[in-house]
């Protein structure tokens, strides 16, 4: 273990305390138990609220995308664990401005069951909710079963678009449709090079010998579709890019947004080496990269590795991505 922490049980609460001490102008925790963080100006009247949530250990996901033009609230679970339905429900009430609330989060059983429960509770208080699930990881299910895919880094495109739609006053249905449209056009694949150590157990989340790679890994270390000797960055770029291009049916003339996401321990330098090849393959295929995001957007504590997400763009999607947004971890415009 090489962690800068105090008591492992306090890890999540202390981290949240750090975030709210650091950024009191942007986010606050409306309740005593702190596991809910909302935009400083929530609730916003007549604007759709967006509640996300999930386990800790993925910063800047999920907490980092609460802010203007992004999500309105986050319910925060323990490391790699779902928040409870109570917490989600409280977050829902805290951001409800009368225009309904979108639940936008990754497709994981624990999260789904708890958000669904919260939706029931919200209905009892006459708060309308709709749910859109991030499910962009092509390694987790084939295209035919894409509804069952897990959600990984690509969800940030949906945050950005749904947040922009909510900000401009779209209805709940419209905001949900914008998010759904993004998710339908987003595909991600990841590679893991070393496991992460869970603070509570001190154990590695999975077993991967030095010099090997797991292609298609999930952000909790879920196994992928191929394990083998670590290849060069260019070979890895090919391995990640090709299935995404196929999955999204991209062809010459298409415009895309690219996200090269670091999983935690991989240096930014390596992400740029990877981006270089992704850009070159895009050029080769006649794809135009209109937006690119390179850095840590959805991590897995100190896992070494990276993921590549592609979003097929049209004018509307691009406009939503380009709309202004700001949180402690994300800025646009």
């Amino acid at each position: 273990m090489k962690k800068l922490i105090n008591e492992p049980e306090n890890f999540v609460d202390e981290m949240i305390e750090g975030i709210t001490l650091a950024h009191p102008d942007m986010v606050r925790t409306p309740r005593d138990d702190k596991r809910i963080m909302v935009r400083a100006d929530a609730p916003r009247q007549d604007r759709v609220g967006i509640v996300t949530g999930g386990g800790s250990g993925h910063l800047p996901l999920f907490k980092g995308y609460v802010g203007a033009g992004l999500c309105s609230a986050v319910a925060i679970g323990n490391v790699f664990s779902s928040p409870s339905s109570d917490q989600i429900f409280e977050a829902t009430k805290a951001v409800n401005g009368g225009a309904g609330v979108l639940y936008l989060y990754g497709n994981y059983g624990g999260d789904v069951f708890n958000f669904d429960l919260a939706a029931d509770l919200a209905e009892l208080e006459d708060i309308e909710t709709l749910t859109v699930l991030g499910r962009d990881d092509v390694a987790s299910q084939p295209r035919e079963r894409s509804a069952d895919r897990r959600g990984v880094a690509g969800i940030i495109f949906a945050y950005k678009a749904a947040g922009a739609a909510a900000e401009r006053g779209d209805s709940l249905k419209e905001v949900a449709a914008a998010a759904e449209d993004i998710i339908d056009n987003t595909a991600t694949m990841g590679i893991g090079l070393s496991p992460t150590i869970l603070p509570t157990t001190g154990k590695a989340s999975f077993d991967l010998p030095d010099g090997e790679m797991e292609i298609g890994i999930g952000i909790h270390g879920e196994p992928g579709i191929h394990r083998g000797v670590l290849e060069t960055a260019d070979e890895v770029a090919e391995r990640l890019m090709r299935p995404l291009v196929e999955d999204l049916g991209l062809s010459s003339g298409d415009r895309i947004a690219v996200l090269v996401n670091g999983m935690g321990a991989t240096p930014l330098e390596e992400l740029y080496v990877l981006y270089r090849k992704v850009h070159r393959i895009a050029e080769e295929l006649g794809l135009t990269v209109e937006k690119r995001y390179i850095g840590e957007y959805a991590t897995s504590l100190e896992m070494a590795g990276a993921s590549l997400s592609l979003l097929k763009l049209d004018d509307e999607r691009l406009a939503l991505l380009n709309a202004p947004a700001s949180s402690p971890f994300f800025r646009e415009g």
Partner: protein, 203 residues
């Protein structure tokens, strides 16, 4: 058995079941994310605490609801949410009844299995807890003594757990392994079996 006896039996079983936490963690690590050990140990602790705080004359249904709430919030994983929903569904079967019989226990278990199938959009054969829970619910029915009922349930659950090994996971995190899930034993089904065994051993 009355509410007090039920509460005691549950607490005894849960104190016993935590010994399987490492086994469950390892099974879940192979197929998923390895948190099932934590769900079970934190969940057991939270339920025991919550039951201790209940008045002695609490009704069985109330006891089941208390278990549901405590288990749901301790470590809100898939298993926690499904089990909590299952316990709530079971509690509805018991209504205002002050005691639990073999038959009402069987009905409770059947309602629990039903709830998990509905919520999880899953059925027997999908390699989930249902593969142990559903046959156990059937086996409980019509036994003469509580001991016999439990033995039959354990036997059925054991068979169900064994059968999960050959199946491909169709639900939850394990389903992302696709064909690679074949050959591995389902952790959720195993957790249910261990709970039954703990009940037998501790009571």
């Amino acid at each position: 058995m009355d509410g007090a006896a039920l509460s005691l039996a549950i607490r005894n079983s849960l104190a016993e079941v935590t010994q399987y936490a490492d086994e469950l963690r390892d099974l879940d690590a192979a197929l998923g994310d390895g948190d099932l050990g934590v769900t079970v140990s934190l969940g057991a602790k939270a339920v025991i605490q919550a039951l201790e705080d209940l008045p002695d004359d609490a009704l069985p249904a109330e006891i089941a609801k208390t278990c549901a709430k405590a288990f749901a919030n301790a470590n809100p994983s898939t298993m926690a949410a499904l089990v909590a929903g299952a316990l709530l569904a079971g509690s509805r079967v018991w209504g205002e009844s002050t005691t639990v019989s073999i038959d009402s226990g069987a009905e409770f278990t059947a309602a629990a299995a039903d709830s998990i199938g509905k919520r999880g959009k899953s059925q027997v054969g999908d390699k989930t807890i249902l593969d142990a829970l559903a046959p156990a619910a059937d086996a409980l029915r019509g036994a003469d003594t509580a001991t016999e009922a439990l033995e039959r349930a354990i036997e059925a659950a054991e068979r169900g757990v064994r059968e999960t090994v050959g199946m491909q996971s169709m639900r939850g995190r394990a389903s992302w392994l696709q064909e690679r899930s074949i050959g591995l034993q389902d952790p959720g089904a195993t957790a249910f079996l261990r709970f039954l065994e703990a009940w037998r051993d501790a009571n």
